[in-house]
Symmetry: C2
Subunit: 163 residues, 2 copies
DNA sequence: ACAAGCCATGGACGATATCGACCGTAAGAT
DNA sequence: ATCTTACGGTCGATATCGTCCATGGCTTGT
């Protein structure tokens, strides 16, 4: 993990269709060593997968709903069951176990409020939840899958230190 | 948008490295028409981009913080400035304008609570916010970039209706 | 019956990925 | 002062795919 690796990751995070030649030029390497680095980044698990992002409007799910959940059950079995169940819902794209007041927070994508209502009914019919509160997003201002790379550690693995 | 298109999108959402031949086989087409459909899906904007997802632990940002923001300023100029500013922060991965109590909700990724504190200080030094409350995620149970495709409309564009 | 739309097949061209081999160099270690 | 290691650069060979023809056949709507 040096500056060049960071640059490569940064580029691929934005656009995974870039050819090795293009990346090589952008980071100031020739193609072969650049390709080697990408290989290593993949083998070491820095890059977990490459995916296509689809337009939410085109597939008719323009609405984000944040669902804050509280429960009375706080044992592992319940959590397992809950997690398993939620993962079945394709509408739930994010689910976090939280600290503080709220036990779980999830983001749900649906076509509109009516569809959310249908989802909500399905949800509460399957799980016992003591308190559910939904907040609707009016507008998504920023959304990116790109993580910040400034915090990545050098990790003197081989011996990679360029001035 | 028929069942085959949905299948193709579903596959590419999960793994964009699949070759057209593999996709073709999976959806029960031969390669050429399958390739054409993918072309169309891209031209029509169903597929917006292809990106690489990187491992958050590897790049040292394992912690999710949800930041709920309230403000007194409710004019367009302020929003523009706020949006512009937030988009500069690579740690802010999602930002929504909400309905209800909270004005804005964002997800921030950082290495640890200390780093979040540093981020927080940077944030409040740049924007005037009347109320900020942070919730830390203990665990990310589900996270996917794949949208549900069940809601996608048929959109009888050409004449595409399979049984 | 006819036309339109979609599929399958086959093939051709070119871009790229994917290596392997070899050399040069700079920094660290002994 | 060497020896070693870890790069990077270059060259080149394969082979896989993407890309895009052209043709023919099947089904469906009018």
């Amino acid at each position: 993990m040096d500056d060049i690796d960071r640059k490569i990751l940064g580029l691929l995070q934005k656009d995974a269709t870039l050819s090795t030649a293009e990346i090589a030029e952008a980071v100031g390497l020739s193609t072969t060593p650049c390709w080697r680095r990408i290989q290593i980044l993949e083998q070491e698990g820095y890059i977990t997968r490459r995916v296509a992002l689809v337009d939410r409007n085109k597939v008719n799910v323009p609405l984000d709903v944040f669902v804050a959940v509280r429960t009375n059950e706080h044992n592992w079995d319940w959590l397992d069951e809950f997690a398993r169940l939620i993962c079945e819902f394709p509408e739930v794209v994010e689910l976090y176990r939280m600290s503080g007041e709220i036990d779980y927070l999830m983001r749900v994508v649906v076509p509109d409020m009516a569809a959310y209502d249908a989802f909500y009914k399905k949800l509460i019919s399957k799980v016992q939840l003591s308190d559910v509160s939904s907040s609707f997003a009016m507008e998504r201002i920023k959304y990116t899958t790109a993580l910040p790379l400034d915090y990545a550690l050098e990790e003197t693995r081989g011996r990679r230190r360029r001035s």
